[in-house]
Amino acid sequence: MEKVNKQFLTGHEVVVQACVDAEATHMFGYPITPGTEILSGWIKKCQEDKKLHFLQTEDEIAAGFTVCGALMAGSKAFTATAGPGTVLMQDAMGMADGMRLPFVTIIAQRGGPSSGTVIYSQQEVNLAIHGGNGEGLRLVFSPSTVEELYRLTRKAFNDAWTYRFPTVVLTDGYLLKTKQDVTLDFAGENVEPKPLVSEHTQKNIRNIYTFEQELMDELENQKKDFDEMAKTVTEFESYKVESCEELIIAHGIVGAAARDAVDELQAQGKSVGLFRPITLSPFPKDELNKLVKGVNKIMIVESSMGQLRDLVKQSLEVENKIKIEGLYKPAVGIEVEEIVELFK
């Protein structure tokens, strides 16, 4: 079947298509709003192609650990989850952290804490990066459009299998349920999966250490690899930032609204640009610090009480003492007009 680049698709559908095009073979998952359609969409693909497999597990814990087992065996496996499921998923993601497994998960953020609300938020940033009992060496992408959701989901598999860090596509129910005309870029090679254990190996792999120093040495090596990876994978968008005096920082779907707000503000003659981190981890720190040198004020806009703000603050160098303001609306969507209003 010939693939059509231009299609009318939902976010859920492009995620499933991206997983198929990345040559993923196994999905393990547990239904949870607003990510369920990734599981049901993948199952539909399994019925068309017998090389694809799925298992609806008993909970997200099992979804995560079956993924770990399949990765050990050399299958391109993945899961998708949301909210309280992202909390349960941390157990398996912790094993992936410790053993450097190419664990790919799509996180459909919903409101929290607890069961919260079921469609939208940007409150799982900390969980995606730092949800494990370790150092948070994870690759986290935050797409802002349906097309970018496709590109980054596909890339997540390649980067996970190249660098062997757990990789998250951090999205939300608004973007996943958006249906629009999309132009998908199918080009690009897929990274081949390799088994950690097989009949050709005799390995004894551990994730528990006898001596404290052994674990610290292991973590220092992981950090070195992570920093090396950062040079290649870190992504961001700077939009109309040339000599701007004020800078909006937003990610994900809020980044798309901020982009439109910048157009409108510049049309009004205001000097406002946008910095949008596409990788939240590793964070595009150097680019941000370069950019803020000529800026008077940063305006953070996010659907959380400051999870993005904290990433920005951690990344700013001390000499860049800059005023930071923000619009923080936990679990609530942010419209273009509200962002424009901030600069009155």
Partner: protein, 221 residues
């Protein structure tokens, strides 16, 4: 056959693991076997046998080996766990692997306590048994893994052995492997010595295991 044991002197687990390895050698299947390890004393098996092994998390070995098996159904997937990993924190995944009849072999070392953490009440702690967390004696009956799994899977191979019935234990493990090869879920629970936490030695250990058989009869189920 193996590297130095990291288990306590007198622990029953080395006997279980050596028996498993002997079977794999006899069947010339060492290369085909993958042994996933739960956390608990079972984690100490990580470099004991010259076959592929990996540690998982506490209670998560069955789910991990279900995933492994779905990716490589042609290999032999073993989930090695203690009684707590199997019947308490990992019960949900154990039950569902059994209910789906996933072809993996779960080996449960039952020593009636949480041994790695120093002897707390386990799902297999017997009535009136004293532990750190049941100082005046446990007031309920233990979980019977055989009945529990049979209630969700008619095809599963289920057996309970003991480290002082080595010949039968070997036979049960052989039959479990055959069940897995035939596409069925298999579980063998083995009553195992824990001299450290039982605070007994030598002959008393054998008496202790023999007493356990009242609550946990051996045989096929």
């Amino acid at each position: 056959m193996s590297k130095d044991s990291k288990f306590c002197p007198g622990c029953g687990q080395t006997m279980i693991l050596q028996t498993l390895y002997r079977i794999l050698q006899e069947q010339k299947s060492e290369e085909k076997a993958v042994l996933g390890l739960d956390i608990g004393c079972s984690l100490l098996a990580w470099d004991f046998l010259p076959i592929n092994t990996f540690q998982t998390h506490h209670g998560r070995v069955t789910a991990t080996m279900v995933g492994f098996n779905r990716a490589r159904p042609d290999l032999l997937s073993f989930a090695y766990t203690g009684d707590g990993g199997a019947y308490a924190i990992g019960l949900q995944s154990l039950l569902w692997a059994a209910k789906r009849n996933d072809p993996v072999t779960v080996i449960v070392a039952n020593n009636a306590v949480y041994a790695m953490t120093g002897g707390q009440t386990a799902p297999t702690t017997m009535k009136d048994q004293k532990t750190d967390t049941s100082p005046s004696g446990y007031d309920a009956d233990p979980v019977d893994g055989m009945k529990l799994i049979r209630s969700v899977n008619e095809k599963a191979y289920l057996a309970r052995g003991a480290v002082n019935e080595m010949k039968d234990m070997k036979m049960y493990l052989e039959k479990a492997i055959q069940a897995q090869r035939d596409g069925n879920f298999a579980m063998v629970e083995i009553l195992s010595f824990c001299p450290t936490n039982w605070r007994v030695k030598g002959k008393e250990m054998i008496e202790y295991v023999d007493n356990m058989k009242t609550a946990f009869p051996t045989g096929e189920f």
